[in-house]
């Protein structure tokens, strides 16, 4: 083999080495481009046009009109307030429920192993099925919750939970805690099991009681997990749709109309795709802001840690 042949082979190998990384990521980039970037850009584009489904041939450019119309409407403000109330209550509830259950499962109670599996069940059930289960539990004629409360003498007549604006909101929050709580519990349990026993033993030797140990040992070490749970559940709560769809349909009145439901209603009830997509873009921006905040917090935690 001549020196020239070697040089050609080396040049080809060098070229291949340089190109290989690009070839290997080409397919994922194409997939992401086709199924994520393109639809997002297309949706953003639609949001600048009047797009009424009953007028399939007329799509004039309207600039920011869709955004202005939805943002200035009473229904946007109402759904935003509903979403904020629901999100705050659901995230607090899920976090407390998850933490409580995780502490219970991390204890030495005999049934902890079996409970670990059972507790995950609501999370494994599809949200639509979970919503139907809760709709039946809360039914004002034959719901088991009414039955129990009535039998125990707490109520004199059955309560129409889903027909009362405040109770309907509360019912949705309860269903969300039931549905999402188990996942939070598993996160917390994983975090608890990573805390070295020596820390607890040292705290006990120093005379720490249950609450003090929890306050000064467990809680600080669980902080990253709490952050993950809070951010994840906030995003899930803002995007809630299936529970509303099944349980309340946004009612009574517009008491449980959240922002994602509002977007759905604009598209499928008002048949205004432009409005609906503008709302979807706004929701995406809110979620994006939350993700960025989450990434910054994680980065800060890493640096401080």
């Amino acid at each position: 083999m001549t020196t020239l042949d070697h040089a050609v082979i080396r040049r080809k190998a060098k070229l291949w080495d340089r190109l290989y990384p690009y070839f290997s990521v080409l397919l994922p980039i194409l997939v992401i481009g086709l199924f994520t970037i393109y639809p997002v850009l297309y949706a953003v584009r639609i949001s600048f046009y009047q797009y009424i489904l009953t007028k399939p041939k007329v799509h004039p450019f309207v600039g920011l009109a869709n955004y202005i119309e939805v943002v200035t409407s009473y229904y946007f403000r109402n759904s935003l307030i509903n979403t904020a109330v629901y999100t705050v209550a659901a995230v607090i509830g899920i976090t407390l429920f998850g933490l409580g259950v995780a502490l219970l499962l991390n204890s030495k109670i005999r049934s902890a192993n079996a409970l670990r599996v059972i507790i995950l069940l609501p999370w494994a059930i599809p949200a639509v099925v979970g919503g139907l289960i809760w709709k039946w539990i809360l039914n004002s004629d034959f719901g088991i919750l009414n039955g129990i409360l009535y039998a125990a003498g707490f109520i004199k007549e059955y309560i129409p939970f889903l027909a009362n604006p405040n109770l309907a909101k509360l019912s949705l929050i309860m269903a969300a805690i039931w549905k999402e709580g188990p996942l939070a519990a598993i996160f917390f349990l994983a975090g608890l099991q990573l805390i070295p026993n020596e820390l607890y033993e040292a705290a006990k030797i120093d005379g720490g009681g249950g609450w003090k140990i929890f306050r000064h040992v467990t809680l600080p070490l669980l902080k990253p997990i709490i952050l993950i749970v809070v951010i994840y559940e906030t995003i899930t709560a803002i995007l809630v749709f299936d529970l509303i769809y099944v349980m309340t349909g946004g009612g009574p009145g517009d008491a449980t109309s959240m922002i994602s439901w509002f977007a759905y209603a604009e598209i499928f009830k008002n048949l205004n795709l432009g409005h609906g997509v503008a709302l979807a873009v706004i929701i995406a921006l809110i979620i994006l802001a939350l993700i960025l905040a989450y990434l910054r917090i994680i980065k800060y935690e890493e640096v401080v840690g």
């Binding site: 639609i46 489904l53 129409p160 009612g251 009830k269």
Partner: protein, 454 residues
């Protein structure tokens, strides 16, 4: 770094390419196919196999399947694939399919969606493709024909047509000392109050879940009944007239708020669907309700409960006793037209069989009436002995006829009626719950109407 700069270039290229694609003009819908000449709709000499898709809401699916089976036996070259969706989800499911131009061939339609669907080009006028369907028009109840007509063209053949009726439990009323039906909304209030005092927790129940399509029809019936003549909701120029203090709509809203606040109106009504409403009536949980007439066969079905046979129709209480008459119908989509003459011919045969006459008889319509108690638009069926016998088993035929004569189609059936009707449901809820003053709720409904009209 060179590598990093190539990466950046690639990314920029990708984003630019996506943006360029994303910014291209939206795909234009295919031009509407022109109606074929009449001779093209004639059956071809050698019948080619044709597969039609037929989408309905989930009611009487076994009967539908049997009707399809009989139709296929009659026309062996035509195969019909049936798909059904819940009534509560039907509109949204169909809109999603239509918007994606994923047309089934034949669908159930309704008068309150016709303008919306026809103006969008999601349905085609059947009289352009099956010219002989116009011959049925003379035999149809005017409100039903109106409900299937858009811009002067007939878009469907009636699956069933019914009135929204006021129904009471005669046994409960007699027990409370009332021996005749209420004639006004004040009568209903007085009777409900007496029934409540005697232990009936909520004498009035409605199926007014926001997903329930019959909710606005029931509310509109109440408004019609409290109004003399036409224009109870809109004037001749389609301007709202209901948002004035003292209007029939205002009076009805006042009445609803009163019965709600006094615990006469089951608050669960705001989340109740029709099936639960029927069950609550059968169980004697309420004495008064408003529902589509076809439910009478179910509530009075022998053996269906303690009160079977005790449910009676009264003329809609109020000043005029008017009510809403509505029609649901078989409709054809552009999907059939795009597939060509064989499909058009098969679809026309289907429409004639299901909504028209076969061997001189309204076979399928009559079957629904006799077996399920569904009302009909085809007036000659009122003289049919089988229909009279069937209807007599659950209702008082003279009252049914009298109410049918007082029925009229919903006012304001426009392309935006469907969107407005959904919006109105939430406003009616808020007024009943006391979250919004009645006038504000009615004004919101009027403003939304004007906004949609623009």
């Amino acid at each position: 770094m060179e590598g990093s700069s190539i990466w950046k270039k690639l990314l920029v290229l990708l984003v630019l390419a996506s943006f360029i694609i994303g910014c291209q003009p939206p795909a234009q819908p295919t031009p509407e196919a022109q109606p074929p000449a009449v001779e093209e709709t004639q059956p071809p000499s050698e019948a080619k196999p044709v597969e039609l898709t037929f989408v309905t809401w989930s009611y009487g699916v076994e009967t539908i399947a049997d009707n399809i089976k009989k139709f296929q036996e009659r026309y062996p070259n035509i195969t019909v694939t049936h798909k059904d969706y819940s009534w509560l989800e039907y509109h949204d499911t169909m809109v999603a399919a239509f918007a994606a131009e994923n047309y089934p061939d034949l669908v159930y339609g309704s008068d309150h969606w016709l303008q919306e669907w026809a103006s969008a080009g999601w349905l085609v006028p059947i009289e352009d493709y099956c010219p002989d369907v116009k011959e049925y028009s003379a035999e149809l109840a005017p409100y039903a024909l109106e409900g299937m007509t858009y811009e002067g063209k007939v878009y469907g053949l009636s699956y069933y047509a019914d009135t929204i009726d006021f129904v009471y439990n005669e046994a409960l009323l007699k027990k409370a000392g009332f021996d005749k039906a209420p004639e006004t909304w004040d009568d209903v209030y007085t009777m409900a109050k007496a029934l409540k005092e005697q232990g009936l927790q909520y004498p009035i129940i409605m199926a007014w879940s926001q997903k329930e399509g019959a909710f606005p029809e029931a509310w509109t019936s109440m408004v019609f009944s409290q109004h003399e003549g036409h224009h109870a909701l809109f004037d001749a120029d389609l301007k709202p007239t209901f948002n004035k203090e003292g209007s029939a709509a205002y009076q009805i809203m006042e009445w609803l708020v009163k019965v709600y606040n006094e615990g006469l109106f089951n608050p669960a009504s705001l989340t109740t669907a029709e099936i639960d409403q029927v069950k609550a009536m059968q169980a004697g949980q309420a004495a008064f309700t408003i529902f589509p007439q076809y439910n009478m066969a179910e509530v009075n079905k022998p053996g269906s409960g303690e009160y079977a046979g005790q449910f009676k129709i009264a003329l809609m209480p109020g000043k005029s006793h008017a009510t809403v008459g509505y029609v649901r119908f078989y409709a054809m989509t552009p999907g059939v037209v795009n597939k060509g003459p064989e499909y058009i011919d098969a679809a026309c045969k289907f429409l004639h069989y299901f909504g028209g006459k076969t061997d001189g008889q309204y076979l399928v319509v009559k079957r629904w009436a006799v077996e399920n108690g569904l009302g009909f638009a085809q007036l000659p069926l009122y003289q049919d002995p089988d229909v009279i016998a069937a209807f007599s088993s659950w209702g008082d035929v003279p009252t049914i006829e009298q109410q049918a004569k007082l029925a009229r189609s919903k006012e304001g059936l426009t392309t935006w009626y469907g969107a407005w009707d959904i919006f109105a449901r939430a406003e009616i809820h808020k007024a009943i719950l006391g979250e919004t003053p009645i006038v504000d709720a009615l004004n919101n409904m009027a403003n939304k109407w004007l906004e949609l009209a623009q």
